[in-house]
Symmetry: C2
Subunit: 341 residues, 2 copies
Amino acid sequence: MTANGRPRAPLMTNTQADRVKEVARLAGRPSRLRRREFLAEGPQAVREALRLHLTRVDAGAGGVVVDFFATDEALARHDDIAELLVHPTAPRLRMVTPEVLAAMSSTVTPQGFIAVCRFVDTPLDEILASGPRLVAVLVEVRDPGNAGTIIRAADAAGADAVILTGGSVDLYNPKTVRSTVGSVFHLGVVTGADVQDLPARLRAAGLTILAADGHGSSSLDDLQEASESRRFAGSQGDGDSRPPSSGGDDPQPPTPQPTTPWPTGEPSRSVAAASSAADDVRLEDPAAWLFGNEAQGLADTVTAAADARVAVPIYGSAESLNVGTAATVCLYASARAQRAR
Amino acid sequence: MTANGRPRAPLMTNTQADRVKEVARLAGRPSRLRRREFLAEGPQAVREALRLHLTRVDAGAGGVVVDFFATDEALARHDDIAELLVHPTAPRLRMVTPEVLAAMSSTVTPQGFIAVCRFVDTPLDEILASGPRLVAVLVEVRDPGNAGTIIRAADAAGADAVILTGGSVDLYNPKTVRSTVGSVFHLGVVTGADVQDLPARLRAAGLTILAADGHGSSSLDDLQEASESRRFAGSQGDGDSRPPSSGGDDPQPPTPQPTTPWPTGEPSRSVAAASSAADDVRLEDPAAWLFGNEAQGLADTVTAAADARVAVPIYGSAESLNVGTAATVCLYASARAQRAR
């Protein structure tokens, strides 16, 4: 499978070549920071890098892919990638032997493709000015797999952006990039955000700030319940509406009135907490979710700046969810509520 | 910190002792299968192993923990574990040096505790006879981290059991056990189930069978929407009820019956598909979710035996979710619908 009609460079066979060593060094942070370049590896990641590259170049912006390396075998296996490379504004394809690819790769199973990419993060201002409706904020999330999983889940949930604070894992760590499975090229990603400064700026951009916190005082379930209640009670959607089946009484007292539980059949649920969460925060509103460090969670100073501290309910005996799965549940809950509006 | 009132064995200091080598060999499958024992490592896992051990012994059943190893430093840091060990039916505590612990451990950061445990899986018959309402089935899930994440998420979502088919990763692989963060000791786990035979047996146990499938014809969103619609429309719950707010326009022609779109504002959604999913399958009913292999997903022969093939909706540009996060979203959706019944 050749990229027809374009002159092809000779096969790179020398694993000791300077360019091979340069690319390999991008697995390390100092080299990445110096060159402002990183590695995308494997078919899914390079495909998405190429697509973003073509879109940007066609829009008159700078390209993303600086250099594109592939083995013959990998190109033959992935027609769609070979086709993208035929595009006139595609980056130059450099054919390499499996040995050269392995020498450049950060992984033991490089899967035949490496794209050297320019940094793709976006300034915070730009993201906030674009009117985002769903944003994930990683506050000192340290594990590359977790960060990548959350970026992928945010992309799946239709989030507009992911913001990494200064203390978080490096977005361009090859393990992070790999775990996003191409999503790093799909949505806006901000790096090095200042966590002190961030809540005020998110709020100024019209975002409700939700801190994901296993010990939070609001249950995600209550927020979802309140949101569905508003929706199914009709278009008034004023936060006081409730499902027709729950009877007539009103939790907001004109005079003190019997409070009605959300109709969940769960006696342990605190009606007062549910009501207050529902009053403060509407899951259907534009939101920024804050997700914290794997071991310590979110610092009190951070949760204090949020509009609500929201716990994913634990129905069984697990102590907690991991940050990647908890984030997925939170982001999908927001996405559903927002889209059902 | 000593386990008061119980004679303490002398400190184990010899990294070459036979028992140390025996324990270390449990990191390998042949030794595990021969002894029907496995390793629980780190405070969270050994705590849950101890709790299950005490519960079982107190109930007159066999214990779980065969041998319990700890360093002085780890015991001093975890009072609660030291307290569990004082219980008269607790397993014998063996104090070891950090070097001995490291020699026995499967990890580079063993965190001071190892419990040698008897296999804890339960026969399928026993699980099915117990009237489970929510079950996760792992069909050839191969990555220990994914399997552990799903077991932990199933536990968090209040599932009754996790079933691993024959081709799945070994439940007792130390990486799987570690990723469950103790949940392997919380819910029923079945290993080596026959995937051919399973759907009929699950159905006979009253479970709706839902195949998680990114290309599935039912959207999880539609199932949730239909379930909420039934709930909020009141007690008739007939699957045809819908929210009062959904208004008038009708994409389906006037005769047989005016189908009303689910009020999601998503024009791309197929109303017909949503209706048929809602008719066939009720998310609030007892369910078994099938989750497939990371690369291949579920085989057609498996999805064919399910009551519905359900896709977690992708609102953004991600190609898919990983199996761990997709499973978490599915299990939480079922848990919410069932509990809100």
